[in-house]
Amino acid sequence: MDRAAPRRFNGGGPRAFIHRLRHGDEVAHILTLTFAAGILLLTSMLVYELWVNSHLSRAKFGWMFFWTSTWDPVFDNFGAAPFIYGTLVTSIVSLVTAVPLGLAAAIFLSELAPRRMSDTISFLIDLLAAVPSVIYGLLGIFIVVPLMRTTVGPILIGTLGHVPVIGRFFKGPNYGVGFLTAGVVLAIMVVPFIISVSREVLLTVPREQREAALALGATRWEATWKVVVPWARTGILGSVFLALARALGETMAVTMVIGNDPKISASLFAPGYTIAAVIANEFTEATGDLYLSALIELGLVLFLMTFILNGLARLLIVATERGGGHPS
C-alpha cells in the first residue's frame, strides 16, 4: 500500500508519524504492542506475587522445602516432596495411557476413516474437551473408582504385581482411589486434546509424501507409520505437551479420585496428593501466616515445574525438527 504513495512513510519525521497515526498503522502497532506487553506483564506480576507472598515459607525452609515430605499445619512443618511426586506420577500415568490411545485414534480419523465419519467424530471429541473438569471428577467417583477397586485393581495386582521390576508399582492395598485412578481420569480428560490436534496435523501432511511412499512399495500401514506420522512429529509432540500442561494443573477431578494423602508410595494403587489439589483443599481455611505462605510457595513450585517442562518441550521440538520432518 505504501508502494503506491510516492512518499516514504515508515520511519523518519513527525509528518510521517502523523501520517501513520491517521491511517491506523501506528494505532494498530501501539495497540497490539500493548496487549502483547500486557500478557508479559500479567505473567511477571503473577510470579512476583507468588514470590513475595511465599517469603515466610522460603525463609524458614529454604531448599529443604523440595525434599521434606511432611505436611503438618499444626506444628508448622511443610514440605513439597509428596505433592511434586504426586503431580509428576499422575501426569506421567495419564500421558502413558492417553498418548497411544490418542495417537491411534488420530491416525484412524485422519488416514483410515471416511471423511464424513472422521468429521463427525472429531466434532464430538472437541465437545468432550469442553466438558468441565468437575464432571470428569464425578465420572471418576461413580464409575472409575468402583471399577478400579472391584475389577481392574485385582486383575493388575494379580498379574503385573508379580512381574520382577515393575511389580512394585502394582502391589499393596487397593482402595479404588489412588495415583492410577487419578491418572486414568486425567487421561480421559486430555485424550481429546491429543486427538484433535494430532488429527489436524496429520491432515496437513502433503499427499505427495504418502503417494511417494506407496509408490515405493510400502503398505498402507508402513506409509502411515513410517512416513506420515514422522512428518507430523513436531505437531504431535506439541499436542502431547498441551495435554501434559492440562494434566499438571488439573485440580477438581484429581482431588476427587486421588485419595488426598500426602505420602510418597511406589504403588500406583496407593492414595497420593498433587499440588493443585492441596491448594484447592486447604487454601480457604489456612489461618496461620506460615501455612498460607507454604501453600503459595507450592503454587510457585507448580509454576516452576510447568515452566521447566514447557522448556524441555521446546527443546525436544527443536531437536526433532533438526532430525527431519516438517518444521511447524
Partner: protein
C-alpha cells in the same frame, strides 16, 4: 465513530460512579461454612423485620473469615474454631467471641455384615485414626460391642482433605481422648493425618465411606441427619455411649460449669451423663470497638435478636440451641461492644 465511543465511555464512567451511592445500612460478614444455612436464614428473617439493615455473609471458610476481619474488609467474622491467642495478638483491635449455634461430629462407617449402631470408645477412635488399631475385630472395638460380629478386615480410615471446622472439632476431641494424638498430631482445621484417605467436604467423606467396604469416617451431625446416613455411638467422659442428637449437644454446652468470659471454650468431651462428647460452638467474631454508631447499634440489635428469637430457627435446620446459661451470659456481654 470515534466521537460516539468517547461519549459512550464517559456515560459509562458516570454511571459507574453514580452507582456507588450509600444504600440503607449494609453490613459485611464472612467466615465459617458450617453455620451458613442458619446464618442466611437469620439474616434474611432479620432483614424482613428491619428492612433498612442488610447483612451480607460470604461463607469463605473460618480461616478466610478471620483473615478478612483482621484486614478490616468485613464488619464482623465467623469461625468454627475460636481464634488463638497468637491471632488475637495480631489483631490491631480487640475482638469478642459470641457463640451462635452448636454443632456435632459423628462417626459413620461401612462394615460388612454390621447393620446395628456400633459403640466406639474414645481410645478406639483415637487408635483407629492414629493407625495403631488396624482391624475391625480389635479388642478395643469388640469389647464395646458384645454380640456384634465384627470382621477381621483392615479398617479403611477416611478423613477430610479440606480444612474445616468439622476436622477441628474432631481433632480437638481426639486430643483430649489420647495424649499420643495430642503430641503427634494435635488439633486444627487441617492436620497431618497419620493414616487415611481424604475426602473433600462432608459429601466426599460420606461418599468414600459408602463406597469403600470396612471404612470409617467422620461427618457433621446435620449432614448425617439430612441425608439419613447411619452413624455410631461415642463414649462420653462419664463412660456412657451416646448417640448424637440435638439434646445431647445442648447438654454438652450446658454442662460447662466455668464458661470463660470470652466464650473461647472447647466443649468436646464435656462432663455429664447425657452430653455428646464431640460437640462444639461456632462463633461470631465482633470487634469490641465499632466507630460507626449506626453499624454498632445494628450489630448489637442483631445479636440480641439472635439470642432471643433467632434460636427458635435452629432446630428446624438441625442445629442445636444455645443453653439458657450461655444465652444469659452472652446477652450481658453484648454491652461490651462500644
Amino acid at each position: 465513530m470515534r466521537k460516539t465511543l468517547v461519549v459512550l465511555f464517559l456515560l459509562f464512567a458516570g454511571a459507574a460512579t453514580a452507582g456507588a451511592q450509600s444504600n440503607p445500612m449494609l453490613l459485611n460478614a464472612a467466615g465459617a461454612t458450617f453455620p451458613y444455612p442458619i446464618y442466611s436464614k437469620w439474616f434474611d428473617v432479620y432483614h424482613t423485620a428491619h428492612p433498612n439493615i442488610q447483612i451480607n455473609y460470604q461463607s469463605i471458610g473460618s480461616g478466610g473469615g478471620i483473615r478478612q476481619l483482621l484486614a478490616g474488609t468485613v464488619d464482623f467474622g465467623a469461625s468454627d474454631g475460636p481464634m488463638s491467642d497468637d491471632q488475637l495478638a495480631q489483631a490491631k483491635f480487640k475482638i469478642l467471641h459470641f457463640p451462635t449455634v452448636l454443632g456435632a461430629v459423628i462417626p459413620t462407617y461401612n462394615v460388612s455384615g454390621v447393620s446395628t449402631d456400633l459403640n466406639f470408645t474414645q481410645k478406639a477412635l483415637a487408635g483407629i485414626y492414629l493407625g495403631t488399631i488396624t482391624k475391625w475385630n480389635d479388642p478395643e472395638i469388640t469389647k464395646a460391642n458384645p454380640g456384634v460380629k465384627l470382621p477381621g478386615e483392615d479398617i479403611v480410615v477416611v478423613h477430610r482433605s479440606d480444612g474445616s471446622g468439622t476436622s477441628y472439632i474432631f481433632t480437638d476431641f481426639l486430643s483430649k481422648a489420647s495424649d499420643d494424638w495430642k503430641n503427634k498430631v494435635g488439633k486444627g482445621t487441617s492436620v497431618n493425618w497419620p493414616v487415611g484417605l481424604g475426602g473433600k467436604g462432608n459429601e466426599g467423606v460420606s461418599g468414600l465411606v459408602k463406597q469403600t467396604p470396612n471404612s470409617i469416617g467422620y461427618i457433621e451431625l446435620i449432614y448425617a441427619v439430612q441425608n439419613s446416613i447411619p452413624y455410631g455411638k461415642v463414649q462420653n467422659a462419664a463412660g456412657k455411649f451416646v448417640k448424637a442428637d440435638l439434646a445431647g449437644v445442648t447438654a454438652a454446652a450446658a454442662s460447662m460449669k466455668d464458661m470463660p468470659e470470652d466464650f473461647r471454650v472447647s466443649i468436646t468431651n464435656a462432663p455429664g451423663a447425657t452430653s455428646y462428647p464431640i460437640s462444639s460452638f461456632t462463633w461470631l467474631l465482633i470487634p469490641a470497638q465499632i466507630s460507626d454508631a449506626g453499624k454498632r447499634d445494628a450489630i448489637k440489635d442483631f445479636l440480641k435478636w439472635m439470642l432471643m428469637d433467632g434460636q427458635k430457627f435452629n432446630e428446624g435446620l438441625f442445629y442445636a440451641q444455645l443453653p439458657k446459661s450461655v444465652v444469659t451470659k452472652e446477652t450481658k456481654a453484648i454491652s461490651l461492644i462500644q
